[in-house]
Symmetry: C2
Subunit: 351 residues, 2 copies
């Protein structure tokens, strides 16, 4: 393990209890995996906020999207002994009622802003809720990429139909244009390159094939950011290593003199998520020049190892300030943290 | 069950032994699921030909793509007691050698032509072999769609990375342009609409999520046939019915006065594949107007029920002659058959 990553002394910088629930009766359970960007002279995060109803004895409850309510959300409650309910403690993330599946928590995206990049003020209500059949179970893990003055948001759209990649654009963070699902299920972890390469937009993504052991990073190309093709598999998991079970892109790749630098996550069979780096050719981004043998960052702090499903550091939000990368990351699927890295030091670790 | 479908008296019209192996030492095991088109005054099929090495006692063998050989193929043989070999009779379709996976059979695409649509001559060698890392395990189940004088081939590209949808185009069936993978894994059963609708190309496809029970038909849109987005789920499986476990598009939808007519396949939990029809709105093809409650065609003939994995009728090749549909289909994952349907009768069964 290297000392390339310097964690903020203030970590965690955002905790669930600092965020106001979307409606009475809900509890913010987790803050996760923020996108990051600069706008209007401030540093902004687009948080993934996971909520669920306040738990009551003998009741299984969930929150669903309902555009007819003031908050856009509605709480559903079922008696735990209802014969139509199919619930096991084995998978506490979901249950069936009358054959229909529900998640116990629902994620939305919410803005937070800061003048120092450390102390954030969080919006008092959701910025973006899932919309329509393909986002019924919420929207998650949003990357924010500014291209020619337009912010493009790529996020995981979750529903009973599986999870795919949705695209939203905005210029002012007040008005949003929804472009639908750009990558069909099951797919997630989509990061756009911040400029056209050889006349085409380029993206990283992660088709997911449960049970197959195939959780690799792919690349695809587009003339317009809305329609994608020319898929190829460029980064595979590595048996026996820290990224043996799954890999996925983080935020948008960063242009350096040596190539496109991407901070990605890798997990092993024990669901331990670390971060590493990969370097792509500037003109041929499907060509991998170098890749971290050892993780750049491992979950070691108490706030990074307290998670229910495993030890997790996961980033999809990076800012660049000269040689310095400011990396916002989700720790332990529960809180938001930050750290800095030197681009030169990361490149030196790779080359 | 209706009498809408009239099988050819000559069925099966093509059998594996009528097709020459691609190289000495190979056996053609199965002919499957042809695309169909008219060209140069003849009826053509683009067959899926599945081959494997002639079996020898004590030897596990396979055939792989190798562009350095005359045939483009190479036979690999392993001693059944080789400790590096991981083979079980439970899944006779594949094995591992030194941790690398192989299929026991390899599929390629091969042209056949006919002047009467019944008696076909088959090319003596493969027309299209898999090419590159994403087609290592072969190419399968090709739909052929003519749009403005260009034939577009959408097929399943199979490799250790999973299966996705590849696209090839040709004008003359001598020279082929490869456009790469247009839909990332796992995806198959991609059928193009034969014309633009509201200024965009449209396709049906089938994202596949093993173990999830989600094997539905989706729709997507494209400005150029090469890049796709705006994915939506339009036809789900129906519990308790003939299409309870999976559904997938057949050949390109056919324009009728009532809407776009699509003959699709549906399978139940017993891997029994039947054919039914669905009708889409002419201007809004994501809107389903009607769908077969009962299958139009069930596997009942001896050549349709003899399969190893189940009873199968599967089509991805249709020709239109006035009110008459000539449907080429794979029976029992083994032989090629044909049948006719009246468009008016199919519509009457739906409306």
């Amino acid at each position: 393990m290297t000392d390339v990553v310097k964690r903020f002394a203030q970590n965690p910088i955002l905790l669930p209890h600092q965020v106001e629930p979307s409606m009475p009766g809900l509890v913010v359970e987790c803050l996760m995996n923020p996108g990051a960007f600069q706008f209007d002279g401030k540093t902004w995060l687009l948080l993934r906020v996971a909520e669920r109803p306040r738990q009551k004895e003998g009741v299984i409850s969930t929150v669903v999207i309902d555009p007819s309510t003031a908050s856009g959300l509605r709480i559903l409650e079922f008696k735990a002994d209802d014969p139509d309910l199919d619930y096991t403690d084995e998978d506490p993330r979901g249950f069936l009622y009358q054959g229909r599946s529900y998640l116990t928590t629902l994620s939305h995206l919410r803005l937070a802003w800061s003048t120092d990049g450390i102390h954030f003020q969080v919006a008092s209500s959701p910025t973006l809720l899932g919309q329509g059949e393909l986002e019924d179970f919420g929207i998650e893990d949003c990357r924010v990429t500014e291209i020619a003055g337009i912010f493009y948001l790529t996020y995981t759209a979750v529903s009973a139909q599986g999870f795919g990649v949705g695209l939203i654009s905005t210029v002012d963070w007040q008005h949003f244009t929804r472009h639908g699902m750009i990558l069909a299920p099951n797919n997630k972890d989509c990061a756009l390159f911040p400029e056209k390469i050889a006349g085409q937009y380029v993206a990283l993504h992660r088709p997911t094939m449960p049970g197959s052991g195939k959780n690799h990073i792919w690349l695809c190309k587009s003339p317009d950011l809305l329609h994608w093709g020319e898929h190829s598999c460029i980064i595979e998991t590595r048996p026996g290593m820290w990224d043996a079970a799954r890999v996925g892109a983080g935020a948008s790749p960063i242009r350096t003199q040596e190539g496109w630098l991407e901070i990605y996550h890798g997990a092993d069979e024990n669901h331990r998520y670390c971060l590493g780096a990969v370097l792509f050719d500037l003109d041929d981004p499907g060509r991998v020049i170098a890749r971290s043998q050892q993780p750049l960052m491992e979950p070691v702090m108490e706030y990074e190892v307290a998670g229910f499903f495993g030890s997790v550091v996961f980033t999809n939000g990076l800012l660049v300030d000269g040689d310095r990368l400011i990396m916002y990351y989700g720790a332990s699927d529960h809180v938001v943290c930050a750290a800095t890295l030197s681009i030169a030091e990361v490149l030196a670790s790779l080359l």
